[in-house]
Symmetry: C2
Subunit: 498 residues, 2 copies
């Protein structure tokens, strides 16, 4: 199949050019919006050509994406010193190191909010968008690939658009997308979406075709998922959640369909979602950001009726199977803009059950999702704040210890707060599950310490809490001079064990 | 005017009884939902009769309200030991002390969420509701008084309802309310509200009249507002915000109408809202929780077109003027359930400009709204989380110092987090305003320290931040061993000054 058949508006054929030439449109100081969400659907050729140029000439950009990129793009651009500012999410070790050295300014948004800020010009405008596509339609509309993310608004808001037609992306992706752009406020109307499977928009990004200044033909596959397989701990976490949901069904609070499920990216959430397949649930649905292997595990187990996301990111074997036979799944899938997948309005209306992962949590159920030892950025808050605040039920999962036991994931006080106790209904580790609904802080502490922690940290947390109650009291007892002492001990001695 | 004319369903006249007799329906261990939001529209006679009984017999209840109560109800019930559990908000010193001693379990909700949790039975159900009313209609529907709060869902979800007909509340309040009850999920539909002045519900709480087991006639006025008048600092804060909004208008991001305004309860927010009257803005609207004196100041200044709230809480003079002549304002006012006034869907759709107050903020723009020295509850998060997360623009205001300068409101690290940096766009003190939109944490620190803080705390914060950058670095530099040292110094020496 030739690329010409994927550029269905003939007048655009003469825009086909090299990645180097296309990258020439990007100049020092520009704000560049690129496709890409959880390693899926990222523009792959132009950013690497840009990095090459940045090694030879002064060139620093503000880079905005949907979420994390694959294909070593963030790494290569960071190594070339080409990124001055980055938003709203990243997950690359090299870029992360530059961020933590203070060399790259990283602005960590709720994933639903970036385009609202752009649309209202509360952050600097996009100069140019670089969007991966499977095709350009007869009217010049861009058909995205394995993610939408912020691509639609980037293309709509930018003056100029570069399209990368990726020949390795299945042409069957066309039709999968649902692109809805809300009106400016105060003219905004209700979003007419009432179930995970409603379609409310178009299947391609509609822009004036004259904005497309360059088209680059590429043939590099998406990076595959780097999540690890399920293990004994993630299986135990899934088991606790299956038991919890079974009780909710028995008590009539949920049906066997549960409510639409969201799962954060990563090993724990993916393994736990797959584990739900072992429960007595049927006709499940997902309304999530990234669709991972677990989505297709649940489809294949006959448990899942429908999945809505903003991207599809799979392991190598799953990617080959799914994208090689997309028609087998296509009528049960939709990809949306991240503004819609993560919209507070929709999350609250649908009554989402949200499952996100914690880097650490404290005895009151504050959750740190982002900052190691309170200072060093891991990836970003992503969509977890969109979902946790507005969900029917907000679940956070983590293994109870890390670093071979040298780190307790449950600490007296988290060193950085991403999620406050009001937004954390359930905390679950391999040890057990704490149902925090309707509990006051002192009751939350008891539930978390007794249900979610392993020895010797359980005794250490009991001792901290008892000292806090005895010496300070209050709604949320703490011994402030010791609240962060576990982190300091880990920093100084390599272990939180006293 | 006799009470009989306020009970328009004749068969209910024989339910009129004494407060003591009505309180007899409430038994030890019950969950009681009472009207009342920001000292307005609280049931006044039955809770005090209940407190009297609790002094003579074992009687402890779970007390749920809209928000804070007036009329010494929380104090009297707390003194009588009648409150085992309390949600979702309070502002009484005696109750607060009992909470901080761990004697009362206080569950501090986002104000929009309490009825969602009740409706889905994720918290124990309401046994009985006690609702203040101006009237009961021909069909037995309850017309609330100066607040709605959670009253509608309490009455709908409870098995039994006690109504207090308050003869001092203006009969003209009837017609002011707009009561909309969303459907259970997954049948929930979009909320059909597109402007602050849309009416989408009924003017009274419709319940089967046989649920009304007792009616008590009362004649005690609402407690009036306890906010302090504007002072030099609040005037300066208002001035900084007026300048900021003028710049936003000049840059075309807002019009002279701005966008619908929300203002948190209290002295600072009230004074700042009044101060907006000095700006060149016209045809303003409010979509807020509590309507305070400032709302009527702006009406009288010809600046405000319409105000939507869940309660009206005024100073004595304003209360006499407004409620004595409600018809002069009535067509520009609506009172809604707090689920609607604070709904994420509506806040995001309307593009609210949210103004809330901080107890303390840190150099990165985390805000503590609730916990003194990280442990002791002040009032609760209230609706600030509903608004700050979903607003077009989220502003937090505070005076830069408290306790005569012994406390800096800007600290290295807040001792408790209610609002994360992603939800804090603008921080303003009497010193100045920090526009944090689109900034990374290191840039936020610079903006906050240089714009919002006064000496000698400014130099102290600079020194802390520089040490954090030099010794630890990271996305969000901190010196963990010193991060909470200002709070400890205040606790131990009575001042944060080193």
């Amino acid at each position: 199949m030739s690329y010409e058949s994927r550029i269905r508006l003939p007048e655009l054929l003469n825009r086909v050019t090299s990645a180097d030439a296309a990258a020439g449109w990007i100049r020092d100081g520009m704000v560049v919006g690129m496709s890409g969400f959880t390693r899926a659907g990222d523009a792959k050729a132009v950013p690497l050509a840009l990095a090459e140029r940045a090694r030879r000439e002064p060139l620093k950009i503000t880079l905005m994406t949907g979420a994390s990129l694959g294909s070593d793009i963030d790494r290569t651009l960071a190594e070339a010193g080409a990124i001055a500012r980055r938003m709203p999410f990243q997950a690359d070790p090299t870029l992360r190191a530059a961020i933590n050295r203070g060399e790259v300014m990283f602005i960590d948004h709720h994933l639903s909010e970036t385009v609202e800020l752009l649309r209202t010009r509360q952050i600097p405008p996009i100069d140019i968008a670089v969007i991966e596509a499977v095709a350009i339609t007869e009217t010049g509309a861009i058909v995205p690939t394995t993610s939408i993310g912020n691509s639609a608004s980037f293309a709509i808001l930018a003056d100029k658009v570069i399209v990368e037609i990726n020949m390795t992306q299945s042409a069957a992706l066309e039709g999968l997308h649902d692109i809805f752009i809300p009106k400016h406020r105060p003219q905004r109307e209700p979003m007419p979406l009432m179930t995970p499977y409603d379609r409310i928009g178009t299947t391609a990004i509609e822009i004036p075709p004259e904005k497309i200044v360059a088209i680059v033909i590429t043939d590099k596959a998406d990076s595959t998922s780097n999540v690890l397989p399920a293990d004994a701990e993630t299986a135990a976490i899934a088991g606790h959640l299956v038991e919890f949901f079974e009780r909710e069904v028995a008590q009539g609070r949920l049906t066997e369909r549960l409510l639409p499920l969201q799962a954060g990216i990563g090993t724990v959430a993916n393994a736990v979602m797959s584990g739900l397949g072992a429960g007595p649930f049927r006709h499940l649905s997902m309304y999530s950001e990234v669709l991972q292997d677990s989505t297709f595990d649940l489809f294949d187990a006959g448990k899942l009726d429908f999945a809505s996301g903003s991207s599809i990111t799979l392991s190598p074997a799953r990617a080959a199977q799914v994208f090689g036979n997309l028609d087998a799944y296509k009528d049960r899938l939709v990809l949306r803009t991240q503004e819609v997948s993560n919209h507070p309005e929709i999350i609250r209306r649908l009554g989402i059950i949200a499952l996100n992962t914690a880097l650490e949590a404290d005895i009151y159920g504050n959750v740190n999702s982002t900052h190691v030892l309170g200072t060093h950025m891991m990836n970003g808050i992503g969509g977890s704040g969109d979902f946790a605040r507005n969900a029917y039920l907000s679940i956070f999962a983590t293994k109870s210890v890390a670093k071979g036991g040298a780190v307790s994931s449950i600490v007296p006080m988290v060193s950085h707060v991403d999620h406050i106790p009001q937004d954390v209904d359930i905390l679950v580790t391999e040890v057990g599950l704490a149902d925090l609904r309707g509990l006051a802080p002192r009751e939350r502490a008891h539930a978390i310490i007794e249900n979610c922690t392993a020895q010797p940290y359980r005794d250490m947390l009991r001792a901290y809490y008892e000292e806090a109650v005895a010496t300070r009291g209050g709604q949320t007892p703490h011994v402030l001079e010791k609240a962060l002492s576990w982190h300091l001990r880990y920093r100084d001695t390599g272990t939180m064990l006293g």
